[in-house]
Amino acid sequence: MTVPPPVRPAADDVPGSWTAALRRRAIDELPPERLLPDRQPAYVSSWVYLFGVLTLAALVVVIASGSILALKGPEWWHHSSLGHFMNSVHLWSVELFFFFMVIHLWGQFFMASWRGNRGLTWVTGAVAFLASIGTAFTGYVIQSNFDSQWIATQAKDGMNAVGIGAFWNVLDFGQMLLWHVLLLPIAIGIIVALHLLMVRRHGVVAPIGVDADGNLIDSGTTTDAS
């Protein structure tokens, strides 16, 4: 991938202006053609590269259906046909979200996708995965049914057993609801946005044995693989 030259201060920039410096830095790090590319290297033509965007698509449905559930409330999702349907859309989009995210994780792990200065991209992905588990868990305990009460009491014992029970009361519906619909979604939104920007910043990682331009690496020599 060709790296564009750094953006130098424009002649009409106000000297010492932090907004001009921030703008130059932003354009330098993420020029528009890298932020929204219209072409990808040849090695991206593989199904295994699709699971990141599938995860993202599922997340959009999760957030949209969850927003509707938050607006209508438990009475609606427990006692109306449309509420049942939206509740199921939320559940199954979460199932797909984790399904795609785990396959995305496997694909990136076996490709060692932290190569090429992509360590933070890998870390933000891992943190997003952990935050998603927390969000799914708090979602289970706020279903407001017998299943959620069972999960919450079992989890309370588990959290006490590992010594973190004082920090979260999973039997407290209000606390779990706010974690699920506010704090954790905000955290996931920020982490996923950072993850995407880093993917765009460094480009999609090449398979092992192929350089960034799609050439096969063979004992120090390269041959065109595209």
Binding site: R39, S45, S46, W47, V48, L50, F51, E95, F99, V102, I103, W106, G107
Partner: protein, 62 residues
């Protein structure tokens, strides 16, 4: 259709659980894990469709 699914998967009863040594997981979760492995394997071996000619940049067209 719903009746057909219900006849195969009856959800109106306690779930099945699998035990291996200290590992215990529900049959439903086991099925999901197997499905993920199958989809992952297929994603590695199934050929990706070629780029349509009209989507190819002009300079790359023969």
């Amino acid at each position: 259709m719903a009746g057909l699914v219900a006849s195969v998967v009856n959800l109106d009863r306690p779930g099945h659980y699998l035990h291996w040594w200290v590992i215990q997981l529900s049959l439903a979760n086991f099925v999901v894990i197997v499905l993920m492995l199958v989809v992952f394997a297929l994603a590695l071996v199934v050929p990706f469709p070629k780029l349509h000619e009209r989507d190819r940049p002009k300079k790359e067209r023969p």
